[in-house]
């Protein structure tokens, strides 16, 4: 390799590993897209203001003991839902708000217990729509086995919100948290076909004039994950739900945090035909498209078969697949062996030109 190219590549990897700097004077839509810009905002503003050992892990939930180190641990998380449109094939803002919080608890290894829900409503919002949303939340909470036990309501003037925003918080009890350790030789699994939520919401906006017959994957993952944990106790290293930024962003964060590489096999990544077609048309990569009912799970290599079998035995994991493996080198990078037989980098999403989707 040319020396110059080698030097540049090393410099880039050093720059990527460095703490990001916030350069903008104002918040832009890129700061909400779930990629590098979001991470930069979180690091430079929120973590700087609130930093503490629990928050600094930047996990889906904070997990902490409540009765001394030996006692049970609680997981605590919060989520804001601002999806547009509010109703889309396969779901709506209500079940999205509930499932998102349930999943953030579940991937932390917690059994979700209770949720709270705060509503910001725009003056003029139809009560019938609000009833439809709350009914959907009740159904989703019932499916996940949690109660919505506290809440708040605010109404803002017409034009100051997009109909309805929902913030949900949740607590759960942690029985066995994933070890958090990720080692070369571990297997990377995904619990089902990716990108369905993101594509559904984009198409539901009607701007694109594409009919694809695709529905959101929004679903509570706590039951699926409980089955997985029971089938291979101690083998689950790490779990994340692949929301904004998609599977690619989750794996990049994992690779950087754990100082490992992830080698993906494009042929093994499950993508439904409608999502694949829409992504081809729109020039999107399904790896970056948001899911709301899919988790990325790292298990020890030995437990791969048992984990896959346990996931596939559950209705929400029927399309689960092993999509790659953890490698030692080069640390911090996600590589994809393409269907075409080449290899490329799968980097973090930078800032996307897509409609907001969750």
């Amino acid at each position: 390799m040319k020396v110059r190219e080698e030097q540049v590549l090393d410099r880039i990897e050093r720059a990527r590993a460095a703490r990001p700097r916030l350069r903008e004077d104002r918040v832009t839509l890129a700061h909400g897209a779930g990629g590098k810009a979001t991470r930069t905002l979180v690091e430079a503003v929120f973590r700087e203001a609130f930093g503490n050992p629990l928050l600094d892990r930047l996990d889906d939930s904070a997990v902490f003991p409540v009765d001394g180190a030996a006692g049970p641990a609680l997981a605590f998380t919060t989520d804001a839902s601002v999806v547009s449109p509010l109703f889309f094939p396969g779901g709506d803002i209500g079940d999205l708000a509930v499932n998102g919080t349930v999943n953030d608890l579940a991937v932390a290894g917690a059994t979700p217990l209770h949720l709270s829900a705060a509503f910001i409503l725009e003056e003029g919002f139809p009560v019938a729509d609000l009833r439809r949303i709350t009914a959907s939340m009740r159904r989703a909470a019932g499916e996940a086995g949690v109660g919505i036990v506290a809440g708040d309501t605010k109404v803002v003037e017409r034009g100051k919100a997009d109909g309805c925003y929902i913030t949900t918080s949740g607590v759960g009890v942690v029985e066995s948290a994933p070890s958090g350790e990720v080692l070369p030789g571990d297997s990377v699994l995904v619990t089902g076909p990716i990108g369905e939520h993101g594509v559904t919401v984009m198409l539901a906006r009607g701007d694109l004039g594409i009919e694809a017959g695709v529905a959101s994957d929004t679903a509570p993952l706590n039951g699926l994950i409980a089955d997985l944990r029971a089938a291979c106790p101690g083998a689950v290293r790490r779990m994340r739900d692949a929301t904004r930024g998609g599977v690619a962003t989750v794996l990049n964060e994992l690779a950087v945090d754990a100082g490992v590489a992830v080698a993906l096999d494009e042929d093994a990544v499950p993508v439904g035909p409608a999502v694949r077609g829409a992504c081809e048309l729109l020039g999107l990569d399904p790896l970056y498209v948001a899911c709301e009912g899919r988790a990325v799970i790292v298990v020890s290599g030995e437990a791969e078969a048992a984990a896959l079998a346990a996931l596939r035995a559950h209705p929400l994991g029927a399309g689960a697949a092993v999509i790659g493996r953890v490698e030692e080198e080069p640390p911090g990078l996600v590589l994809l062996k393409t269907s075409f037989g080449g290899t490329r980098v799968v980097d973090v999403l930078v800032g996307d030109p897509l409609p907001r989707i969750c």
Binding site: T28, P330, V345
Partner: protein, 372 residues
């Protein structure tokens, strides 16, 4: 997926790669330019360079429309967008392109009404729904996108939509290729010709490249096998001592182009005497403007006509001419990254620098080490 999977067959790719290697004369090196940004994207996204022998290298051309927009035009567009009665509409790729005073994304955050659209017809729809506002569509792209802008203007005219106009930045590919061919520091053996542009203009206009400059050109599609096959066709021409325009993308590109699309362009737009290209400077008759002043945002809004020198550190021009590989630029990967683009080549996913940074910077040698 039909019409896609058959062009991504790894077994066929291996067989083509073997034929490509066999066509290379020992000791000779071959350099081909892919003119179109879409090709650059495909090359990196699918890892096509992994299939090429050391003797064949690809350089990236000026065919990414976002990459060739000079900073002054972005500033002018933001000037229009910042007026209170204006709704500016644009494609997503334009949102992050830096002007001298920030990007559309920054202007939007500061209060300008800038909306992303997927087609100029969407912009016309916004104009129809907002009769009290003036809706401007930022027209950008080569002959590929110019017809849809032209058709939209024709529709606006026939529907009598008076609050719609175009800030026209459409450029034409042939003068840019000629500028590259005239560049004294260029060493090329042939061109992978732009597929989408050629679907509109056809293959015939490339004749001057073979005739006057002695370089073969193969119009190529956008699937990975299309590109490998085009490289094979170029090498075959060189091996046989031929120099011709050939059409690999016959399933989409008619030899004489699309008369209806060309007619729409000619009815609504005319060549500008000259236009500034990012990194390439002023090129005569290389861009289009609106014929009808009532649809021309440039004349309706009395734009400042900003001129902003490219940042001294930025070497987009050399990258666009294929003189430098992206990683050879002074600021690549440090000051200039996809999140902090200095040059436009780092903005669009079709830009050579962004494609190399996002997909390709893990080179063949490192791949072999990592996946051994």
């Amino acid at each position: 997926m039909r019409h896609v999977d058959e062009y991504r067959d790894a077994a066929k790719a291996r067989s083509l790669a073997a034929s490509i290697a066999a066509l290379c004369e020992p000791g000779r090196r071959y350099t081909f330019m892919e003119v179109c940004g879409g090709h650059t994207h495909t090359i990196y996204k699918h890892g096509i360079e992994d299939y090429l022998p050391e003797a064949v290298s690809l350089v990236h051309g000026p065919g990414c429309p976002v990459c060739v927009i000079p900073m002054g035009r972005v500033d002018d567009a933001i000037d229009i967008a910042s007026r209170p009665d204006v709704i500016m509409t644009t494609f997503g790729d334009m949102m992050r392109v830096p002007g001298g005073r920030g990007s559309f994304l920054d202007a939007k955050a500061a209060g300008a009404d800038i909306r992303m659209v997927y087609s100029p017809l969407d912009a016309l729809g916004i104009a129809e729904r907002n009769p009290s506002r003036r809706v401007v569509f930022m027209g950008i792209g080569f002959e590929t996108t110019a017809p849809s802008t032209a058709m939209t203007v024709l529709r606006a005219a026939s529907a009598g939509v008076a609050n719609f106009s175009v800030f026209c930045n459409h450029v034409t590919i042939l003068p840019a290729i000629k500028a590259i061919l005239d560049s004294p520091d260029l060493r090329l053996d042939g061109f992978i010709g732009p597929g989408h542009v050629s679907a509109v203009i056809g293959c015939r206009p490339y004749g001057f490249i073979t005739r006057d400059y002695g370089k073969p050109l193969v119009v190529a599609g956008f699937e990975p096998l299309d590109i490998l096959q085009s490289i094979h066709m170029l090498l075959t021409q060189l091996a046989e001592g031929r120099c011709e325009v050939e059409n690999q993308y016959g399933r989409v590109v008619p030899w004489d182009g699309n008369a209806k699309a060309l007619q729409a362009i000619n009815r609504t737009m005319e060549p500008r005497p000259y236009f500034e290209w990012r990194g390439l400077g002023f090129i005569s008759h290389s861009a289009l403007r609106m014929k009808d002043a009532s649809f021309d945002a440039e004349r309706l809004f009395d734009i400042p006509g900003s001129r902003v020198a490219d940042p001294r550190s930025c070497q987009c021009g050399e990258v666009l001419k294929g003189v430098l590989k992206p990683y050879e630029c002074k600021v690549f990967g440090t000051a200039c990254t996809p999140e902090t683009p200095i040059g436009t080549c780092m903005v669009s996913s079709e830009g050579a620098c962004a494609a190399y940074y996002n997909f390709g910077r893990f080179t063949r040698e490192r791949v072999k080490e990592a996946t051994r």
